[in-house]
Amino acid sequence: MTISLGALLGATASLALSGAAMAQTTITVATVNNGDMVRMQGLMDDFNAKHPDIKVEWVTLEENVLRQNVTTDIATGGGQYDVITIGTYEVPIWGKQGWLESLNDLPADYDVDDLLPAIRGGLTVDGTLYASPFYGESSMVMYRTDLMEAAGMTMPEAPTWADIEKAAAAMTNKDAGIYGVCLRGKAGWGENTAFITAMSNSFGARWFDENWVPQFDQPEWKATIDFYLNLMNNYGPPGASNNGFNENLTLFQQGKCGMWIDATVAASFVTNPKDSTVADKVGFALAPDNGLGKRGNWLWAWSLAIPASSDAKDAAKTFINWATNKDYLALVASKEGWANVPPGTRTSLYENPEYQKVPFAKMTLESINSADPNNPTVKPVPYVGVQFVAIPEFQGIGTTVGEIFSAALAGQKTADQALAEAQAVVTEEMKASGYIQ
């Protein structure tokens, strides 16, 4: 009798357990391990209190590994994730493939019209919003006000590349371990290729002409690469071919860079006294230009999307609405201050007087607004994207070209050799992919 009673109790207990599990939907969220995403994981108590029926499991990975796992999953219909973190490069391509769930039916309090138009445009394909921006970024110049002052110079609000070179020369003090300018050199389509491509736009260069013929043999590219190599070799830190966003951020926070031209989102990290030794000595300026009508700034948004293969789409939408809603910005502001709010997604944030007090708010907004993915270059191009070309093949060729430029920065190749090689490789790939004959 005791035995069957025990069995009965056990059965009841397991029934109760499975009942509880049934009521709770589990969603798996894949994110990059950057500051804003990690902060969100720390604020989950708020979500859990509002939505006790949804349990969120996190997969936090380094950017490259995340991209590798997420892409493999979505392209093979793996169905392992319910919410994925992707960028403005992936969204148009994946949206077109039908790999992403439409977000047009998010609740009214999401207020889709509040999204910054440039960002919203980058995440929309044929009128359908496929991803919700978590934070948006452009690029701009971050510089050390104290070093500029010591050199007796002032940084214009909208500098030219010549201004940058002059400032870099004035601030460089190699004996003290201070380098005038830190730029990306690490190979990768999202690393040096992104920076150099955005830079090339301001030099009048383009990846392809209207007929998808690669343009690396053109003088504009030669001018870009010559300038980049010259700047980095004279005023950049040693070993720059291994420096990406994170490495440069560390160097800048340590006070080893006079200037750093990179993502606007870095502004809150370099001005945060907890991590940065130069927090109160940073000024901001628009990305440089050459007077050709285009600046060297890009446009990117880390965004949350739902794979079509997810089996918990409603819960996933609830989560996305929580994480990218105006209320989330207010939540972060109340806990961590306005400077640490994920920037660059909503008009209302930049209209908020509290946020306007943040030193980099204005420059971030202006940078984002001045980037135009649909019309990125001086000469016409057949592609969308400022610092990338929104075609599936770009991950591959962008990385290969990045490696070639990185080798040039390391001194293995001259600018001419690098450009000839880039031209040859990209031409071959474009032929193999059927863009050109």
Binding site: T76, Q80, G177
Partner: protein, 276 residues
């Protein structure tokens, strides 16, 4: 071949040996020291040894940011599970190869080893697709199977070399006494083979614990072990040397401690038949 040395030579040798050992160990030591420094102290130039700001904050932060116990437990289950399963399959094979060798035994062993030469990246997508069809993605059982197959050749080979060292006469004697095959294994072989099995087990637990390709490609949350835990701490934004060191220490310390405590067993067994 240890021989007596003159006191002076012994001093010199001791010094030399300790210097070399400390040099080899130094990267691990430096990582552990860094993990207890503040981020600012970790990158201070010149490097700080004793004057650093010591803190436990890095560990607290790493602990708070991820579900360490789950990663840890997954690592344990996967490493131990794949090793035990591997032993189960390998022991009979190695036994048969050692005591009933055929003409092709050596070739068979070499063939088994050669299956390890296929680069994992090349079969990544095929295996991913297979796993997806079988519903094994992000499951511990799936990883146990993959790691078991990966290390099976090593297990078979190690066991084979041990079993071969067991004198055949003992078996003959046991057979004379009318011992059945089962009794032969249990009563005669096992006690003699146990040290070998133990060190095979240890080595394979270490290999499985340190595997960092399939464990990252084939898992997301439920089955993710410590290699995936580390992947979430490498290259984050800003100063991260101390936090990376703390996360690294948390990932390797369990196996380091296991290795140190069982080093006698491990070392005794780590011969692969190299000693004759």
């Amino acid at each position: 071949m240890a021989r007596a040395l003159s006191p002076r030579r012994q001093l010199v040798t001791t010094l030399a040996a300790w210097t070399v050992a400390l040099l080899i160990f130094f990267p691990v030591l430096w990582m552990i020291l860094t993990s207890f420094k503040t981020e600012a102290s970790a990158v201070a130039m010149p490097p700080q040894f004793l004057s650093a700001d010591w803190t436990l904050e890095n560990y607290a932060e790493v602990w708070a940011r991820s579900d360490y116990p789950r990663f840890f437990w997954n690592s344990v289950v996967i490493a131990v599970g794949s090793t035990l399963l591997g032993l189960l399959v390998a022991i009979p094979s190695a036994w048969a190869m050692a005591f009933v060798p055929g003409q092709r035994t050596r070739d068979l062993l070499m063939w088994m080893l050669s299956t390890k030469m296929m680069p994992a990246v090349a079969v990544m997508v095929p295996l991913y697709l297979i796993f997806q069809r079988l519903g094994l993605l992000d499951s511990r059982i799936g990883l146990v199977i993959v790691l078991m197959l990966m290390n099976l050749p090593i297990i078979v080979w190690m066991l084979y070399t041990y079993f071969k060292e067991i004198p055949g006469e003992i078996l003959e004697a046991a057979r004379m006494d009318g011992a059945s095959l089962w009794n032969e294994i249990v009563h005669v072989l096992t006690p003699m083979a146990l040290p070998g099995i133990a060190s095979t087990m240890l080595l394979n637990i270490i290999l499985a614990w340190n595997e960092a390709f399939w464990t990252i490609v084939l898992t997301t949350t439920k089955a993710a072990p410590l290699s995936a835990f580390i992947a979430s701490f490498s290259a984050p934004q800003g100063l991260f040397y101390a936090k990376l060191s703390a996360a690294s220490a948390m990932a390797i310390l369990p196996i380091l401690i296991l290795g140190w405590f069982s080093q006698k067993q491990l070392v005794r067994g780590l011969t692969f038949g190299a000693v004759k």
